[in-house]
Assembly symmetry: C2
Amino acid sequence: MTSSPSVYPKVVISGTGLWTPPHVVTNEELVTAYNSWANRYNTIHAKAISAGEMTAKPEGSAAFIEKAAGIKQRYVYAKEGLLDIDRMRPILSERPESALSDQAEVGADAGRKAMEAAGKTADDIDAVIVSCSYTQRAYPAIAIEVQDALGIQNGFAFDMLVGCSAGTFALHRAYEMVRSGTARTVLVVNPEMISPQANYCDRDSHFIFGDAATALVVEREETFTSAHGFEILSAHAQTRFSSNVRSNFGYFSRITDADPFSATNLFHQNGRRVFKEVCPMAIQHLSAHIGQYGLAASDIRRWWLHQANSHMNEMICTKLLGHPASFDEAPIILDQYANTASAGSLIVFHLYHDDLQSGDHGVICSFGAGYSIGSLILKKR
Amino acid sequence: MTSSPSVYPKVVISGTGLWTPPHVVTNEELVTAYNSWANRYNTIHAKAISAGEMTAKPEGSAAFIEKAAGIKQRYVYAKEGLLDIDRMRPILSERPESALSDQAEVGADAGRKAMEAAGKTADDIDAVIVSCSYTQRAYPAIAIEVQDALGIQNGFAFDMLVGCSAGTFALHRAYEMVRSGTARTVLVVNPEMISPQANYCDRDSHFIFGDAATALVVEREETFTSAHGFEILSAHAQTRFSSNVRSNFGYFSRITDADPFSATNLFHQNGRRVFKEVCPMAIQHLSAHIGQYGLAASDIRRWWLHQANSHMNEMICTKLLGHPASFDEAPIILDQYANTASAGSLIVFHLYHDDLQSGDHGVICSFGAGYSIGSLILKKR
């Protein structure tokens, strides 16, 4: 937790950008495909299921998904193959090494928009952070490819991985860079391409994720010129290890001979325990963070919260505010975007920040896999 | 590039730790296995090879490896299977989710040693960075598991990926955290487990890598108590995109239907171009960095350089110093450890820092995949 003594340069978020994938998948489409696949599975294995040797796949329901998570649809990078019950995952052509990678392309798209919003050119940027739940390869870092794709000649770039808090944690690093003087203007990019790691044969998780990429420009107050800037007053983070949200896919499967894409190597979670454990952590974290900065919940004009499940946000807001939050107080985009991991709170920030007045306070907060919680207290310039 | 105005807290590297794997693989062992495999391959495909439809696998030589790269042996995490010509990669049991992961275990081992060297307990650490070429999974972050394994109850942790410069770039983040006030004492861990991604059927790269984990404690000068501390005077980094060192393995293979472990998805490089392009970059970078801090090459008591190839270091040092560097000026551990990616310069720092006198200057520098170059100018306390 930090305050801002006057010796440090003030740090401002000066522009945001959002890349939204071209394809929509509705709950109805997803459930129709899943149920067809599940029914066929149950028919094929009817004998073993009735003998108790196998478990029948349960039916899904579009209405249940909306009720349980607040999700109506999601955007995905690749839709072909995803609703094909003989495949149950997207299909995509592999790009050659000489081509821009998928993840760098969508990251650069969001990055370019954020730079435009901040009124910055490639020459102004001296650091690029790509931070997300999965990087498409180990090296060269995706961030260096984004840096190159945006024509940024100077400075440095690197990748970060922290699951759901990758976005806020990268903003913290940008804040530290600008504050400590190792960079003047930082581009933070969160290309969340989660759909290739979702298990579309799992009724309890196939609906959770959508793809999206966000980007933000973080710079010194003295260079900031954009219409909508937010000073970062304070950054606070905590992590506590839990395997209740986990994705084991990794390069060790080459030597363990495990199936890299088995159900336990894809995303999986103990959703109830996550809900039960993360909500109190987030409430305590946010309460302590604004409290130590001398603010009450009623002083916060807007809460840009992690978008994993609408009931989590309802519980957290009700506890913090003493009443259920209005959309204006804590916007929700789960109905449109579903859970986009670390991009969620930053999509909300991107879409709903222009109406704040000078001097208004707001809070960005992520919470989830790790467990990890990251928050920033902002003040509209 | 940064200088240190007095308003910022001074930042000190106060302790280091090293985990060395239990198994040695000599050049002779590796070449014997490779040549047996290659001879069998050539015999099986003799007709196609003589018809020009396939290319014969060339023979390797232990002496050539030593001459070309300065490598005599390497340490590996898992040796079983690696010299078996029916397998040509290590074999390892997969650990259940309830167990400490391999990478967190070795990272925690190095971390514990670094904390001991710095005289710090778990209560002192308020941030953990795991930074390396490959993380064993996407999430929860390996760093959060290391934090947990070391009993660090407070603060936060996250993973970083930048190939060869993951170590120096993580030290830069630690420097920024302490300098900007978001953390007081940071543990940087670099668990480089590269052997699972090396292509043991490629004569030109099968010998390059070894495994190792390094760790460093970075803290405010005011809390530093250890026998050997180094103030970080300045940090400087640059990246420039190149596909000449590349590892494409990643989760997109689930939707592209590509073999996750094909030769192009494992580590591969254009070694000559890397040598030709990275050496001048590193020379220019180091020269500019020390120059802007008012130091000449002759002012630097020791160079803790990246350990990829002994000839790269010879060329860089000769250009910087005007004469070939002695072991005392720029130690080499390639003969024992081979290339350990981002751990290389930090193993050298760990092994060869105790003899410096108060006031002596030293430079840590990584250079490689990305391309990425990261350097720190240090002053012995």
